[in-house]
C-alpha cells in the first residue's frame, strides 16, 4: 500500500538531495571540525557553508546562526538566555496556543517564581494583541510568540508585535518552526531578536535545530562545556545534520514559490472539496492568515482517533486534535483556547501537505474521507437529527 503523507507539520520526508549531501559525513568525512589537522578542518569549512546557507534563508548573518539539537532546545535556549540576561525581571509573556516546547517551559517557569502571562486567542485563533500590549511592563524579560500555529496553521503578526515589544526595550523571541520554508522570512529588516527553527520540519533530518540570535542580543549559553558555536552552544557539532540543514535551507528557498502556489492550491482543493462533500464539517483557524500547507477540519460528532485509524487503512497519514490520540483525556489546548466546541474539537483532523504531495493523492483523500466520516457517524449516538438538510 502506498503511503499518502499529509502530516508534514509533525515531520517531513528528508529530501533525497539532503541525504546525498549528508552521506559522506557518516563515512569518509568523519573528522572533528575543531581538530587542528586538515582532515578535521575540511569538515569545519563545509559547516561554514551550511551556516551561510541557513543565514541566507533567514536574511541573517552567518554569525547569527547557532546550530542546536532541535526546535525545543532552540526555544529553551532563547527563553532561558533572555531571563538570565535580565535577572531582575520576573515576567514573561507568551500565548495560550504555543507548542509545548514553549508552553510547558512557561508553565515550568510559572512554578519557579516567574509571573507568566498567556495571551488568549479568539474563535479563529487570532491573538488578542491589545491584551498582549497591555501586559507589557518594566518587569517583562521576554515575549515569545510563535510565528505560525502547528495545529491550525494560523499565522501571527510577529513582526508587528516584535516592533512594539522592542520599543519597550524587551527581548522578543519567536518559535518559527512551522513558518520557515512555508512563508518568506527576512531577519534583515525585522525587530525579532531570536528565532527557533527545526530541521525535520523542512526536509532535513531529526536532531538538528537552529537558533537565530540577532547580533548584539545579550545571551547566556544553555549548554556549556566547549567552545563550539562561538562558545554559545557547547558540544561537538552534529556535522552530517548541519550539512543536511544547510542543503535543506537552500531547497526551502527554491521551493518557497511552489509551496505558496501549487501546494496552496492542493490544500485549498482538499479543504473545499471536503467541506462540500461532508456535512457538519468546518475549518479550525483563520483562513485569511494561514500557512499554505495546513488545514484543520472539524468533523462534528465523531472522535478523531477512529478517523485516523480508518484513514490509516488507506495509508493516509494525518493527525488529530482529539484527546484519545494523545493519551491525555482532553482535546488539544489550541482548539480549547480557541473555544472550539467539544462537538467539533474531538473530531478535528489536521492535514499538512508538502511539496511532495500530488494532485492524485489529494483526489484519493477527497474520495475516501466522506465514507470514513459517514461510517463513524453511523455509530455515533449524537449523529441522529444533525444531518444537514
Amino acid at each position: 500500500m502506498k503511503t499518502i503523507y499529509m502530516d508534514n507539520n509533525a515531520t517531513t520526508r528528508v529530501a533525497p538531495e539532503v541525504v546525498e549531501e549528508m552521506l559522506p559525513f557518516f563515512s569518509d568525512l568523519y573528522g572533528n571540525p575543531s581538530s587542528m589537522h586538515a582532515f578535521g578542518g575540511n569538515v569545519g569549512a563545509t559547516l561554514k557553508t551550511a551556516r551561510e546557507r541557513v543565514a541566507t534563508l533567514l536574511g541573517a548573518l552567518p554569525e547569527e546562526i547557532l546550530f542546536t539539537s532541535c526546535g525545543t532546545e532552540s526555544d529553551s535556549t532563547a527563553i532561558h538566555a533572555a531571563i538570565r540576561a535580565n535577572p531582575d525581571k520576573r515576567h514573561i509573556i507568551t500565548t495560550r496556543v504555543e507548542h509545548p516546547a514553549v508552553k510547558s517551559l512557561g508553565e515550568h517557569l510559572a512554578q519557579n517564581g516567574y509571573r507568566v502571562t498567556f495571551v488568549p486567542v479568539d474563535r479563529r485563533g487570532r491573538l488578542d494583541l491589545d491584551f498582549l500590549y497591555r501586559n507589557l511592563s518594566d518587569d517583562t524579560a521576554v515575549v515569545s510568540v510563535m510565528w505560525a500555529n502547528n495545529e491550525t496553521g494560523t499565522i501571527f503578526p510577529v513582526e508587528e508585535i516584535a516592533r512594539k515589544v522592542k520599543d519597550r526595550g524587551i527581548v522578543f523571541h519567536s518559535d518559527a518552526v512551522q513558518a520557515v520554508g512555508k512563508i518568506p522570512i527576512n531577519m534583515a529588516d525585522s525587530a525579532i531578536d531570536m528565532l527557533s527553527l527545526s530541521g525535520h520540519k523542512l526536509h532535513a533530518p531529526k536532531g538538528i535545530g537552529v537558533l537565530y540570535l540577532r547580533k548584539g542580543t545579550r545571551f547566556a549559553p544553555f549548554l556549556v562545556g566547549g567552545h563550539q558555536e562561538a562558545g554559545r552552544r557547547a558540544g561537538t557539532e552534529n556535522t552530517a545534520s548541519i550539512i543536511g540543514m544547510g542543503r535543506a535551507a537552500q531547497l526551502a528557498m527554491a521551493w518557497l514559490r511552489d509551496e505558496n502556489t501549487r501546494v496552496r492550491a492542493l490544500r485549498d482543493k482538499l479543504e473545499t472539496e471536503l467541506l462540500k462533500r461532508v456535512p457538519n464539517a468546518m475549518i479550525n483557524g483563520d483562513p485569511d492568515n494561514r500557512l499554505p500547507n495546513t488545514t484543520s477540519i472539524a468533523f462534528e460528532f465523531i472522535e478523531g482517533e477512529g478517523i485516523l485509524l480508518l484513514m490509516d487503512q488507506y495509508g493516509i497519514c494525518a493527525s488529530s486534535g482529539s484527546a484519545c490520540t494523545s493519551g491525555s483525556l482532553e482535546p488539544s489546548h489550541v482548539l480549547r483556547a480557541m473555544g472550539v466546541p467539544f462537538t467539533a474539537a474531538h473530531g478535528s483532523i489536521r492535514y499538512s501537505l508538502s511539496i511532495y504531495n500530488t494532485e492524485e493523492e489529494i483526489d484519493f483523500v477527497i474520495d475516501k474521507m466522506p465514507s470514513i466520516i459517514e461510517r463513524l457517524r453511523r455509530m455515533s449516538p449524537f449523529w441522529q437529527g444533525n444531518q444537514s438538510a
Binding site: F301, E303, E305, L309, Q313, C324, P331, R378, M379, P381
Partner: protein, 274 residues
C-alpha cells in the same frame, strides 16, 4: 500509536451490533460529548428471558467502539442476572486486553450495561451517587471507590485510566489519593482532638519546645530567648542577645516563636515580651 490487540482492531474495523433496537427492553446511556466518549446501549429479551439482541451506538476512540462491540457480543444469550455480573475486566479480556490508558472504555461498557438493566427492572434512573470529586469528567467518590476496589488500583494515574477522574485539571488529585488511601486502609486517621492540657503539662511542653526548636534557631543568628512565666495562655518571654536589640524582634516573636508554640503546644497560646 496505541498498542491495540488484533482483536481490538478487528472489532473497531468490523464492529458487531451497531445500531438501536426500537422496541428495546432495556436502554442505558453513559458519557457525553464533552467527556470525549459516550455509549448508548439497547437490548431485547427473547421468549426464553435471555438477551436475544443487543445494539450499541458509540462516540469515542477505537477502543471505545471495540469495547462496545465486545460488550454486545458478551451479553447476547445471557439472562439479565448473568449480564449484571459482567465486569469491565470481562470486556477487556474479551478483546485480549486494552492499553491501560484505555481501560475507561471498558468501564463505560459496564456502566451502560448497569443502566440498561436498571431501566429494564423499572428502577428509577440512578442519580450519580455520592459526591462529585472530579468536576471535569463528573466522577463521584463512590465511582472512584468502586474502581479502586474492583481493579485493585493504587495510584491516581490508574484511577484516571479506569474512570478518567483526575485526567484534566488535576484539582481533585488530593481527594482521589484520599479515597485510594481509605480503600487500602492507609488513610491518616482523623487527628484526635487533643485533651486539654493541665497547666503543668503546658508549661513543660512550652519549655521543651523553646529548648528543642526555638532556641537553636535563634542562636544561629546570635540571639536567645528566655521563658519568664506562663499565665493562662499568655506566654511571657524575654529576648536576649542580638534579638534584644533587633528591630525585627517583634516579627520574630509573633511569626516565628508564637507560630511554633501554637503548632507544637496549643493553638490558644499568645506570646508576649516582658
Amino acid at each position: 500509536m496505541w498498542d491495540y490487540t488484533e482483536k481490538t482492531k478487528e472489532h473497531f474495523l468490523n464492529p458487531r451490533n451497531v445500531g438501536f433496537i426500537d422496541d428495546f427492553d432495556g436502554i442505558g446511556e453513559v458519557g457525553s460529548l464533552a467527556c470525549g466518549d459516550a455509549l448508548k446501549l439497547t437490548f431485547k429479551l427473547g421468549e426464553d428471558r435471555r438477551i436475544a439482541d443487543a445494539k450499541f451506538q458509540t462516540f469515542g476512540c477505537a477502543s471505545a467502539i471495540a469495547s462496545s462491540s465486545a460488550l454486545t457480543e458478551i451479553i447476547k444469550g445471557m439472562t439479565v442476572e448473568e449480564a449484571a455480573m459482567v465486569t469491565n475486566d470481562d470486556i477487556a479480556d474479551f478483546l485480549g486486553g486494552l492499553p491501560k490508558e484505555k481501560m475507561h472504555c471498558s468501564v463505560m461498557g459496564r456502566d451502560a450495561m448497569e443502566k440498561a438493566i436498571a431501566y429494564y427492572r423499572g428502577e428509577a434512573e440512578k442519580k450519580i451517587e455520592g459526591e462529585i470529586v472530579c468536576e471535569c469528567f463528573g466522577v463521584s467518590d463512590l465511582q472512584i471507590e468502586r474502581a479502586v476496589k474492583e481493579n485493585g488500583l493504587t495510584t491516581i494515574d490508574a484511577v484516571t485510566d479506569y474512570v478518567k477522574a483526575g485526567g484534566a485539571c488535576g484539582n481533585c488529585h488530593d481527594k482521589i489519593q484520599f479515597i485510594i488511601d481509605t480503600v487500602l486502609g492507609n488513610a491518616p486517621r482523623a487527628a484526635k482532638k487533643p485533651e486539654a492540657l493541665t497547666n503543668i503539662q503546658k508549661i513543660k511542653m512550652i519549655d521543651a519546645t523553646l529548648e528543642r526548636e526555638i532556641k537553636p534557631a535563634l542562636k544561629q543568628d546570635g540571639g536567645d530567648i528566655e521563658l519568664v512565666d506562663v499565665d493562662g495562655n499568655r506566654v511571657l518571654v524575654k529576648l536576649r542577645g542580638t534579638c534584644a536589640s533587633c528591630s525585627k524582634s517583634q516579627i520574630t516573636l509573633k511569626h516565628y516563636v508564637e507560630t511554633k508554640l501554637k503548632d507544637l503546644v496549643s493553638q490558644d497560646l499568645v506570646v508576649e515580651e516582658v
